[in-house]
Each structure stands twice: as C-alpha cells, then as structure tokens.
Symmetry: C2
Subunit: 215 residues, 2 copies
C-alpha cells in the first residue's frame, strides 16, 4: 500500500491534486492541521502542535478521538517527519510519498532530504519520493538503476549523499564515469533526459536523484 506523508512546508509548493493520491495519509507537524482542514482522513498524526491556539488544539484532539487517529509526539532526538517515516516504514508500504517537506526553512529541507541516508531507513530508501510542485527526489543504494521520466520533468540532478564509488550515468544528456571514490558530497546538476529512462549505477554509497522542471 502507498503511504503519503504531509509535512508542514509551504502549501504553495504542493503539487496539483495532491489529495487524489491513493493510499493512507500520515500528518507530520503542521501537515496534520492541513489534512484536517482539507477533510482528508489520516491514519496517524505526529507533532505537538504548539503553534495552534488552544481552541484549535482542542478541536484537533476531538477529531483524533472521533476518527480514531493515532497521535504521537516526536522525541527530542527525532523530527516529526522522521518519526512519520519510521511509522510508514513499519506499515510495509509499496511506496512512500512525502509532501510539504520543501520550501521555507532550509534546515528542515536539508534535514528531511538527508535523513534518508540513515541506516534505519535502508529498507525503505528506494521506496521514498519527496515531491513538490517542481521536484521529485529519490534515493538509490549500490546497484544498477533505472530512473523513469516524470511528466513535465526536463532536468535531472544526481547528488552523492555520502562517499560514493564507481558511479556511472549511462544514457542521460551528460554521461558520467566516476571510477574512483568521490570523497566530498557533490551535486551533478542540470542533466537532462534524452528519452523516457535514464540508467545509472554505483558500487558503494547513496545517490539522491532530483527530477525537476523549469520555474
């Protein structure tokens, strides 16, 4: 089953028709409030909601009771989005789409994108996509991979999340043959699809891919 997580980033970066996604929803932080406001049923809510007024908070709590939403607060060492991803991981998903995780605070954005490098997410790493109006972000470990072109996407970036080894981009506009270890994380930006697929491989490390459009 597909799991969708809505985090609290700027709503103007949501893709069109976001709430037509199949599967179940988890609200993280202010994303919970947005799901409630849009009357989208959620399976679970993560956050302390300290930015809500008391009456908003009470209204939300009552909604959780009425609709049997599980409500948890993140521990000190985990962010709301991280905890939502941990719960999603344990629901044995086919795919996890994360919305509302970009824009606004850069510390949140980078924390959201980089947590997929954590070992606890190895089992779901290749099932997660971070999505906003313009961008789709995926993650790949060692092996041979195919990236399928999204509608409306033109540009493509590859970023080494950690040291990578033997990284090859085979059939994009710009091919790459990195035969040694890349010690410093690096974004290879502004590459392009030439067909509907791009093949690439790596022997070690984690590659984050960004499919993106002109804005």
């Amino acid at each position: 089953m597909q799991i969708n997580i809505l985090a609290g980033g700027p709503t103007e970066l949501w893709p069109d028709n976001i709430f037509e996604e199949p599967g179940q929803w988890i609200g993280a932080d202010r994303g919970t409030w947005y799901l409630y406001q849009h009357q989208v049923h959620m399976k679970m809510a993560v956050g302390d909601f300290d930015s809500l007024t008391l009456s908003e908070y009470q209204e939300l709590q009552q909604h959780f009771v009425d609709t049997q939403v599980i409500h948890v607060k993140a521990e000190k060492d985990e962010t709301d989005t991280e905890l939502a991803l941990m719960y999603a991981r344990d629901m044995q998903p086919t795919h996890i789409k994360v919305f509302g995780a970009t824009g606004g605070r850069l510390d949140h954005l980078l924390s959201n994108l980089w947590q997929m490098g954590d070992e606890k997410f190895t089992v779901i790493r290749e099932k997660v996509t971070f999505i906003d109006k313009c961008n789709a972000v995926n993650y790949f470990g060692p092996g041979e991979h195919v990236l399928i072109k999204n509608d409306k996407t033109r540009y493509l970036g590859f970023m080494a999340l950690a040291n990578i080894n033997d990284f090859h981009i085979k059939d994009a506009k710009y091919t790459l043959d990195l035969n040694t270890t890349q010690l410093m994380p690096k974004m290879w930006s502004s590459n392009e699809f030439i067909g509907e697929q791009v093949h690439f491989s790596l022997k070690q490390g984690i590659i984050m891919t960004v499919q993106t459009c002109d804005v």
Copy 2:
C-alpha cells in the same frame, strides 16, 4: 568591498530591500535580467540567456555595451553561479552575498550550497552568505567560531558538508559534543539562539550553518 551576486531563483524569495545592499553586483543567469529590469548597475554578467527572446537578448547586449558590463558565458563544467563566485573571489572581497540561489529547482539549490565545499572556494568560504527571505547560510572550516544572530532569526541548523571531526556547539539551546568523526553528512536542525551569539568549533571538515525563521 562587498560583492553581491544575483542568481535566477524565484523573486518572491528575495529579502526586502535587496537592492539597497552596498558594494558591487554580479548577475548570474536570469539574475542578470532581473538586475537590468531593476536598473541596478552590474559589474559583470554570467550566462547565455537562452531563455530570452531575441529582442530581449539584443536589448541586454546593448545595455552591456553602454554600461561597460563584462559578459561571460560559463564553461560546460561550471554553473553560472559558480563562475560568478569565481570572479567574486578574484575581486578580493570583504564579503560576498548571494541572492536568488534558493527555491524552485532543488538541483540548483543543492549545487549552489554544496559548491562552497570545493577547494577553489577555500579562500572565500567564510566570507560567503547565501540569503533569501527566510534563510542565511554560512560556511566554516576548522577552528573556533562565533555566529552572530541575524534580526528576525530564531532557528539555527548546522550541517556537516563533508566528514567532520570533533564538533562542538557550545552555547545554543541544544549543545553538542561530537568527539569522533561524523562519516555521513548530517543536518542538526531546529536549534535556537539563546543570546545574540552562538559559539562552536570543529577540528576537521566544513560546517554549513543555516539561520532561519518561522514561515
């Protein structure tokens, strides 16, 4: 002298009064067009401007001639912002502020932020700030450092750009004592200033700091 670079990111993320900055301006990519439209004198322009119409392009070229703007195109292996930063570096600046480098395409954002890890920018690394409406990003190599709180800033993030060693955050809301090597780049997000300054140190590597506000 302060150098300001304007890249082509979304204009709605510009900070208020952006064109009241002292110093000289460099336009990168579509940022050049914005400087021209706002009648801001630029020292240099980088980009091929292939998104302009022919008449816009000719108008811009004439402006370059009239106002003695140096116009260069980035080589295949460098981005426009990277080339603008290389020129800024060679102007022996006291400080470099980069605007228009966030928002929109995530591959551009990550390329912009991570290029400061490159050795060729070591001499200017601690002089560069990436700025948008909500965020200010700085970079620090090994040593003892003080971060001065910006107006309107509340939150603070620290990101390891590469392997770091012996990293200590001393007087923020959340202190940190990392005595070993952090092998995977990581964002410590949602920290906070408790006074007007935060002291931190590292023995090896590069730390990117993000000062940010609630949005």
